[in-house]
Structure formats: structure tokens, C-alpha cells
Subunit: 142 residues, 6 copies
Amino acid sequence: MAVLPLLSDEQASAEALAVFNDIRTKRGTDYVNNFWRALAHDPDELKSVWERLQTVMAPGALDPLVKELIYIAASATNGCAYCVHSHTASAKSKGMTPEMHAELLQVVAMASRTNALAVALGVPVDERFEAEPKAKGLERGR
Amino acid sequence: MAVLPLLSDEQASAEALAVFNDIRTKRGTDYVNNFWRALAHDPDELKSVWERLQTVMAPGALDPLVKELIYIAASATNGCAYCVHSHTASAKSKGMTPEMHAELLQVVAMASRTNALAVALGVPVDERFEAEPKAKGLERGR
Amino acid sequence: MAVLPLLSDEQASAEALAVFNDIRTKRGTDYVNNFWRALAHDPDELKSVWERLQTVMAPGALDPLVKELIYIAASATNGCAYCVHSHTASAKSKGMTPEMHAELLQVVAMASRTNALAVALGVPVDERFEAEPKAKGLERGR
Amino acid sequence: MAVLPLLSDEQASAEALAVFNDIRTKRGTDYVNNFWRALAHDPDELKSVWERLQTVMAPGALDPLVKELIYIAASATNGCAYCVHSHTASAKSKGMTPEMHAELLQVVAMASRTNALAVALGVPVDERFEAEPKAKGLERGR
Amino acid sequence: MAVLPLLSDEQASAEALAVFNDIRTKRGTDYVNNFWRALAHDPDELKSVWERLQTVMAPGALDPLVKELIYIAASATNGCAYCVHSHTASAKSKGMTPEMHAELLQVVAMASRTNALAVALGVPVDERFEAEPKAKGLERGR
Amino acid sequence: MAVLPLLSDEQASAEALAVFNDIRTKRGTDYVNNFWRALAHDPDELKSVWERLQTVMAPGALDPLVKELIYIAASATNGCAYCVHSHTASAKSKGMTPEMHAELLQVVAMASRTNALAVALGVPVDERFEAEPKAKGLERGR
């Protein structure tokens, strides 16, 4: 399956190749995975995604492994098979054990179950889960 | 918004009320939130969800706060407003700081962006992200 | 919430009003619900949806109540609050009991749970679940 | 495609194998499909899903075939190819005819069409589709 | 992957074959793609989809290429790999350049990113984005 | 509905306020809509989204109005009510007529209908819709 051919180093533009090489350097591997080779048809988006990804996935208040678990959860519920595969591999490389993987999937399955129930029941949000009234002077929305 | 009326303690069946009271005990609060009061129309599903939820969200290889973050990520990508509100509240009560919340949302946004790109490009899964060939003797699927 | 104002009978075009009146006649009620009043801004789509809906929801190999249950299941998983509300009302008017409603939601919740697991695990489809090889002479797809 | 290898009987833990064998007994077949072999990496979730599935899909106010139709509707709208394949096979084994299958898909297609319209138009839920005001004394939500 | 076998001209019913031939005539090609051959199991839905599709995709206030771009955007966010592939091919045949394709994907990715953020933040709709109050005399919904 | 309070100019950090003011300048209006006031809790993501949005929505191979139509299509299928409202308003301000709006919704509805059918039928992608084989030397994926 492929909407656009994956670009080899030779086929990529100079700007895309620079991103490929930065991926190699930062990840310490010669391998550039298919997502980047497909996205290389648009060097601007390729560069923007790669740069933002590094910022977002860097250590912060959450550590990189927790961020990968969150990434997998979002990707699975968004139905992206590619992303589930690539980020599960990435999470393993950052220390995700089989036990952690199993618990991650249990939570995603539980959330999907209760998400479906809450939508099908049209459950109204409890007042106490709502943020405080916004600052005075702002237009009121619903 | 509500497909079914929320059941008060008086309106709930004995089996549902027992779950309400178990929620109160386990959570150390008198408040039973709307999801449970809507689900109480089906005491069997109510009990099943509540019991499984406790198992799934208990400390294990992942700690309860990380599990809440994963729950929010799945709920947001599933588009469940109720669940986003209730589990954000729950995550805060378990120690989620504003910085952690911000990083969680950054990852969910990043995942949604690349999920859309991977699907729109039909990126094929790299061989190295696939699990090892399955055991001999199993029927071959695709 | 509303992207476009709901059109009253007076505001609707002649073509839209004809559909409103057909809805009244076929349903035996004077009430025209909001979906049709919002869709009335596009009389062509309004007419096309209303006509196809009658064909699709008519008694056939499946009876109308079963079709409403299927409609609710699809609407809940698609995250359409409006449709969940309107088709739950419709199913009730066609005989859906609280017990049937509860079981419907149990199945939708179960499906959402296993759907999430199957996607997160990337489970390959078993050969025996695949249709027979297609007729000779057709281009081979994947 | 596979995030984790499918486990053969020999590779499965004793707890997982017990579930495999229960599936064989209850279904009257020696075949254990891929979903269970992938889920077997987490015997706890495997057991929980299998047990709940039997309860949920058992005859009740809705018969098992209707439940399979609902399962397919949810799986298709959730975008789970595996689940669509496995539950279509299951529905056929429970008596789904080609005519029933065609009507099921017509309803799912119709729902998806109107779901998209209702969301894109932001149609507000009609008061008459809302549940009665909840019991006095409950916190008011929106 | 296939839930139902694709039907060849010989296997299709007379009504389905008539649609196949109309597709050939209108598109000026002998090739009938897999979607129609799978849908041919239900000649009624096949005919309904094909006829509506011609109306919807015809030149109007929007030109056919813009409509294809919109179709791809919806298909990608709905997670339909088949539709992304077939409508990208269709858009190319109508003049979509690589630059237009790249910008389309950038917008879809941007939307998916902000959609996730808006849902996860539960942002209330600004009053000024709401339609004018509906006509007097209509039941008030939320 | 709101997970976090909307921040007024006084409550926003200096970095967030700078983005608010840039929005005002670039859009030629004093009004800053709710999305930005909610996102202001994370000035880094606020700035990143705002900057990328300007690049992505700028005139290019596609004009800004077409980009807004694509944005609405993605937002509706992603189920984001906020985004549907805000981008419909934005498209109108860029010249979207009622006729264009109607046709946009027709295409989104049509796509959602056929997306559901293609997934429920498991239609295999036609060979001719697949990209050419990738360059030699790249790892083979599926």
C-alpha cells in the first residue's frame, strides 16, 4: 500500500536529504523509516514535522517513554496502523516492557469501551469537571 | 444533553446502588459522577465496567497517573468530551501538573498530525516494525 | 450549537417545504426535527437524504427496529451526539425496550474495546475470514 | 501486519491456553482465530475479554444474530478491518443472509452520511429527544 | 483483504452490469475499479451510490478537482485507505499537481492537530460562530 | 464546556499575549477566539500552532478558500464541533457562498457514505492506485 513512492536518498531533494541525515545523526542509526521517505515529497512538511517532533518528544515534565505510550494510545484510537507499529517499536527501544505494553493496551481498551458508552448515553459533563468561569469581559460561548 | 435520565440513589436499583456505594468507599467521596448515574440503567454493565476499571487503573508496571494520561489521550482522539473532562479531573487529583497536561496535549496533537499524514500517504509498515513470523503450524493471514 | 440557523416553514424554499410536509405525512406527526430544518439550506441534499432514508429503513430482510439499532451503533461510534439522540428516540417509538437498549450499548462497548485491541495489536486477518479469490481476469489488488 | 507475534498453543502461557481451550469447547471448533493468539500476550485481558464477550453476545432481549450485526456496524465505523472480517464471518455462521448483509451495510452507509451532515451543520439536539430532567438533588451539568 | 469477493462482469447481476457499463461510458475507460465490484453484491446500493456520486461530484459552485480534494480530506480523516488511494488517483487525473497534493496534506494534518487540541481542551464555541437564533415558534434545543 | 478556563489578556503570559496581539494584527480584528485563549495555557504549543497555521493556510498551489473547505471537511469527519464552527466562519469571511457550503457538505456526506462501505466490504486497493515500486535498495514493507 502506498499513495506515493518512498523516496530513496538519491531521489530525495537536497532539503529532504538533509532531514534524512539529521534523523540518522540524532537517532544513531543509518535507517530512515518509510514515513519520512513518503513525506519527503513535501520537504517543507517533512522538516516541520521532524523539528516539532523532537521538541514534543524531548524529556520534560513527562519522560520520553511516557510520551511514546501516549503516542501509541492516540495512534491506535485514530486507527493508524503505521503509527501503531512504528511507535510501538520506538517505545520498546526506550524501555517499554511487555508488562507495560499490556497495561497500555488495557487502558486504551477500557477508554474505548467507556467512551462509546458515554457518547451513546449522551452523558452531560458534571459541573465540577468544568473549568472555572472565564475571566470577565470575554464573550460568552457554550 | 442526555439520552437517559441520570438516576439518583433513590431511583437506582439495589444492584446499582451497591456500585454507587462502592465507588464512594473506594474513592473516599460522597460524589458519584454522571457517567455512573447514566450507566445505572444497566446494572450489569455498570458493575462490569466499575470492576474492570479498578483492575485496569490499579498500580502495576505503569503507575496510575500515567494510566490516566493514556486514558485522556484515547478519549480525546475518540472524541468523547465527557471522558476528556472526567479523566482530566481525575489526572489532576492524581498529581498531573499544568506542565504535564500541556505536554500530554502536545503529544496527542503531534500524533494526530502524523496519523493523518501516514493514512493520507498510505505509508507501508517497515518490515522491521513487524513482529517475527508466527509459530509454525498457524494458518497464514495477511 | 448551530452552524446554520434552523429554517421554519416560512423560511424554507418550496422544495424544502415539500419535503417537510412529506415527512409530516409519512411519520404522522406535525413535528419536523432539527436535522431536516438545518439541512433545508440545501434542498437537493435534503430531498436525496429523505428519499434514500425511507428506502434504506423500510422493512426488508431486516425489520425497521433492528435497522434503528444498527443506526444507533454507527452513530455512537461515529461520535454524532445529535444522531444518537434522534435515533434512540426513533428506536423507542418502534418498540425498543430498556432491556434491548442496554444490550445494544453493551455490544457497542464490547466492539469498541476489541476494535481498539485489534488495531493496537495489528492483528492480521485470518485466511478463513477472507473472501474466496476473485474471478479470473480481474486485476490483482492487495 | 502484526505488532506482536501470534502465539501458538505451545507458546501460550497455561492461563492463555486454558482460554484457547475454552474457546474451542464453546465454539465447537479446533480453530482459535488470530485475535485471541495476539491477545494471549496478556492472559488477564484475554480472559476478561473472552468472559465478557460470552455474556454480552448471549441470547437476551436481542438475539445473537442481531448482536453480531450491531458488532459489525460498530467495527466498520471504528475502522477496524480485522473486526469487520471476523464478525462478518461470525454473523454468517449465525444465519446472516446476503440480503441481510446488504441491508446492514446500507444502514451503516446512511448513518455515516447523516452523521457527517449533522456534525458539519452543528445541529442542536431537539428538546424532545432529551431525557427528562434528572432527579432533584443531583448536581446540574450541561 | 476482502469481506466479499469482487464480482466480474460475468458474475454480476444484469442490474449491476448495467452500472458497470455506465461507469465505463461516463469515465471513458474499460476499467471498473474494485469498489464497484465489491458493492455489486447489492445492486440497489451500487446504483444509488453511483447516481448520487455523479450529481455530487459534477461541476457546480465548486469545480470537480476541489471536490476531489475535499473527498480525500474526508477519507483520510475517516481512515479509509481504499478511498484515499482511489480518490488521490482520481484527483491526479483531474489535474492535481504534486504541489497541490502536498498542500492538501498539510491542511489535513494541521486540522487533525488542532481538532485534537480543541477536543482535549473542551473549547466552547464562540457566540459569534453560532448561527442567528432560529425562527420564532421552533422548539428550543441545545 | 471547558477543560481549562479561557485566558483573558490579563491572565495570559507575556509570550501568549504576544501571539494574541499578532493574531489581532494579522487578522485585522481585536477579537481573539476561544481556541487561542484555551491553548494559551501552553504558550509553546500556542506559538507553534499559530505560526504553522499561517504557513499552511497561506496562498500557494491552492488558494486560501479551498484550504478552508478542506479544513472543514477534515474537522467534520474528525468530529470537532468547535473547529467546524470556527472554520465555517472563516470560510465565509473568505468568500464561501451558501452554494459552495452546500456542495462541500454534499461531498463530505458522500465520502463518509462510501468510506463506510469500503471499510465494511474490506475492498482491496486496485494495483493501479498503488504507487510505483519504490527505489531499489529500500527495505520492503507491506
